[in-house]
């Protein structure tokens, strides 16, 4: 197992070596792995440097913002831990993709938005909808397939929607949400609002035509859309290196003449600040941005993934930079968070999750006639 996968912080400049014609694919992969491998000492130094950087960022923000970001990350983590339990009890069905490990991405990015900005994402959508402001009650009820769910029990885990907070959905076809977001941004510009659209997708979605077609249109027509690639380094059981020729996702932006940035997804404040810059560019200049946010999922691809394609040691390496632990520790070291405040956050989260579970349990099943509602906005006449 190469060290490559445990270095989420550095973008790998691999374009030149990849262009070497005549080299076999296998040789290229090996060469890339070799150049990207770093020793444990180097890794420690890098972790220390990242810690230093987050502490500097902490100084630039007010306590309320910092605590709000921490609260949201903890909320998502505990919410999903309970959802996983409910899944194993059979209360939640179908596919259920957990976000644990990636919380800093949704929380940091959405923290940089105005409430009227738009968000779209993939099927791994619990974190984004909670961070956008959908009530945990309604998210949990949706996972339970209940009438009180944010999609009326019809969408389930993969299809959370909440028009009330401009959360335009979880989408289950890999890459499908990217053109949709481009259209949402087009509409904002068309109507002359200064709303910004954020769209999240995995690194495997970057291999879909939908990604490339969307980036081209967004830059061509100067659309206020921010494309956020959550690079957790795996698409199901396939590692990034096995599926993508140029693995520096942020380097795909120049191909479309678009601004691009590489971001440390284990540092909620790096995500927050990078997204702020992109939002500014979108809001004031109506220009798109591609952000590659390097992160890692701690759990399986979905609840049913045995995860044989990576080692426990690899996962543990990444858990050393658990975004919640890192942030909490740095806040404490900077004197911005004491034990009482942390306990308060945990307590409020516990109550919110408990309420959500109770709401989901007690919410009724959708009525049978709901099977035939919401198919058309203008239903055909019944008497026709």
């Amino acid at each position: 197992m190469s060290e490559l996968k445990v270095t989420p912080m550095k973008p790998r400049m691999q374009a030149e070596e990849a262009s070497g014609a005549g080299v076999s694919i296998q040789a290229k992969v090996e060469a890339a792995a070799a150049t990207a491998a770093i020793n444990p000492e180097e890794l420690r130094r890098e972790h220390a440097q990242r810690q230093q950087e987050q502490q500097e960022r902490i100084e630039e923000l007010d306590r309320d913002t910092l605590h709000r970001l921490l609260y949201q990350m903890v909320l998502i983590r505990r919410f999903e831990e309970k959802a996983a339990e409910a899944y194993t009890l059979g209360k939640i069905g179908g596919f259920c993709h957990l976000y644990i490990g990636q919380e800093a991405v949704a929380v940091g990015a959405l923290g940089a938005l105005r409430p009227d900005d738009y968000v779209l994402t993939s099927y791994r959508d619990h974190g984004h909808s909670l961070a956008k402001g959908t009530s945990p009650d309604e998210v949990m009820a949706e996972l339970y397939g209940k009438a009180g769910g944010c999609s009326a029990g019809k969408g389930g885990s993969m299809h959370l929607f909440d028009a009330g907070v401009n959360f335009l959905g979880g989408h289950a076809i890999v890459g499908g949400q990217i053109p949709l977001a481009t259209g949402v941004a087009f509409a904002a510009k068309y109507r002359g609002t200064d709303q910004v659209t954020l769209v999240f997708f995995g690194e495997a979605a970057v291999n879909q035509g939908a990604f490339h077609e969307s980036l081209n249109m967004a830059q061509l027509w100067k659309l206020p859309c921010i494309f956020i690639c959550e690079n957790n380094q795996y698409g199901m059981g396939t590692s990034l290196e096995r599926a993508m020729s140029l693995q520096d996702v942020s380097q795909k932006a120049p191909a479309y003449n678009m601004a691009g940035e590489f971001v440390d997804g284990m540092d909620v404040l790096d995500v927050y600040q990078a997204t702020k810059r992109a939002v500014e560019r979108a809001r004031t200049e109506s220009l798109p941005t591609l952000l590659e946010i390097r992160t890692y999922r701690f759990m399986g691809h979905s609840m049913s993934d045995p995860g044989n394609y990576r080692t426990r040691a690899e996962i543990e390496k990444h858990q050393e930079r658990d975004p919640i632990v890192v942030f909490r520790t740095n806040l404490k070291e900077k004197g911005t968070l004491d034990d009482a405040a942390m306990n308060d956050i945990e307590q409020r989260v516990r109550e919110a999750v408990e309420r959500a579970l109770q709401f989901a349990e007690s919410s009724p099943e959708p009525a049978p006639e709901e099977l035939f509602t919401h198919i058309y906005a203008n239903p055909p006449r019944q008497d026709a």
């Binding site: 069905g93 179908g94 596919f95 029990g153 019809k154 076809i173 099943e365 099977l371 035939f372």
Partner: protein
């Protein structure tokens, strides 16, 4: 004969054919290292190596088109869709390239390719991941469409599909992968495309069922037998080419037909079968042909609604009683 699962039967078909012809390769998402999202390709990477069993990026339009191109110049690709929901991204290459290449090149380029994977309803995965889209493909001349309902059919039909010189859409049912049955291990065991099978003989009514609906139709027939109705169950097995003769023969005998399908009814395969019966055997019908289909609504997530959306045993039994004027 050995008893194996549908999953193993499909695996055997690919393995045997890949041994026979080295122009065959398998490409798709997670087919190699991961051994298949549904483990249908288990062991094939070890046996044939990564030249012939290839994990693709999530790039359905791309690798479907790659397959068609490779087929134009002599390879015989098996392209696996992780599920047929994702084949929707590849329909341009399937419909505009694979289906029409032979015709628009005046017979110069045949496309011996198989597009296969699970389709139909799956458990509680909502609208985008739970749908039966065989009628889309069956609509187009140039494509062949296969939907097996038993492990033996799965193996025999897949081997025929692989040896066929035309593009074949081969739709498996995810819920059936674990179903067991006797399957021949003769490497020349084949089931020809375009031949229906009478899965159970009867005299009073005919159920035409495919894929997941076949075991349910057989259960319905058992139940109806107790009620004094003798039901014939026919599985067309291939939607294109379609074996109209076998069905017409049955209609002439039973004079009553129910068509069972998971897909939406509107413009579905059941509508086509019904039209053919009407055109060819109208005078033999004692009751209008009845369809029992998936409901005319996208698939909901909630368990209670999902149950209402998919045809089940009671609906099928009721439909046969209805065409038999028993209630």
């Amino acid at each position: 004969m050995p008893v194996i699962t549908m999953r193993e039967a499909l695996n055997q078909a690919m393995r045997e054919e890949m041994h026979r012809d080295e122009n065959i390769f398998l490409m798709g998402e997670e087919v190699a290292s991961y051994q298949g999202a549904y483990k249908v390709s288990k062991g094939l990477l070890d046996e044939f190596g990564d030249k012939r069993v290839i994990d693709s990026p999530i790039t359905e339009l791309g690798f479907a088109g790659l397959g068609v191109g490779a087929a134009m110049v002599g390879l015989r690709p098996i392209i696996e869709f992780m599920t047929f929901n994702f084949s929707i991204l590849a329909t341009d290459q399937i419909v505009n390239s694979a289906a029409k290449m032979l015709y628009m090149s005046g017979g110069q380029f045949k496309i011996p390719i198989v597009f296969r994977g699970p389709g139909g309803s799956a458990y509680q995965v909502s609208s985008q991941h739970s749908q039966a889209i065989e009628s889309w493909f069956a609509h187009f001349p140039g494509l062949k469409v296969v939907m097996p309902s038993t492990p033996a059919d799965a193996k025999g039909l897949l081997k025929s599909a692989i040896r066929d010189d035309d593009p074949v859409i081969f739709i498996e049912q995810e819920r059936m992968y674990g179903n067991k049955g006797e399957v021949s291990d003769d490497p020349e065991f084949m089931i020809p495309l375009g031949v229906a099978e009478v899965k159970r003989e009867g005299t009073d009514a005919t159920i035409v069922a495919r894929s997941l609906m076949v075991p349910i139709a057989l259960k319905a027939a058992e139940e109806l037998e107790k009620q004094g109705v003798s039901v014939e169950v026919i599985d067309p097995r291939t939607i294109r080419p379609f074996d109209t003769e076998t069905i017409i023969r049955s209609v002439m005998k039973t004079n009553r037909v129910v068509i069972a399908e998971e897909s939406h009814p509107f413009c579905g395969v059941g509508a086509e079968i019904s039209a053919q019966i009407m055109e060819r055997a109208f005078d033999y019908l004692d009751a209008p042909v009845k369809r029992v289909s998936g409901v005319d609504a996208p698939m909901p997530y909630a368990k209670n609604l999902e149950k209402l959306a998919i045809p089940d045993l009671p609906r099928l039994v009721a439909a046969v009683r209805e065409v038999s004027y028993l209630d």
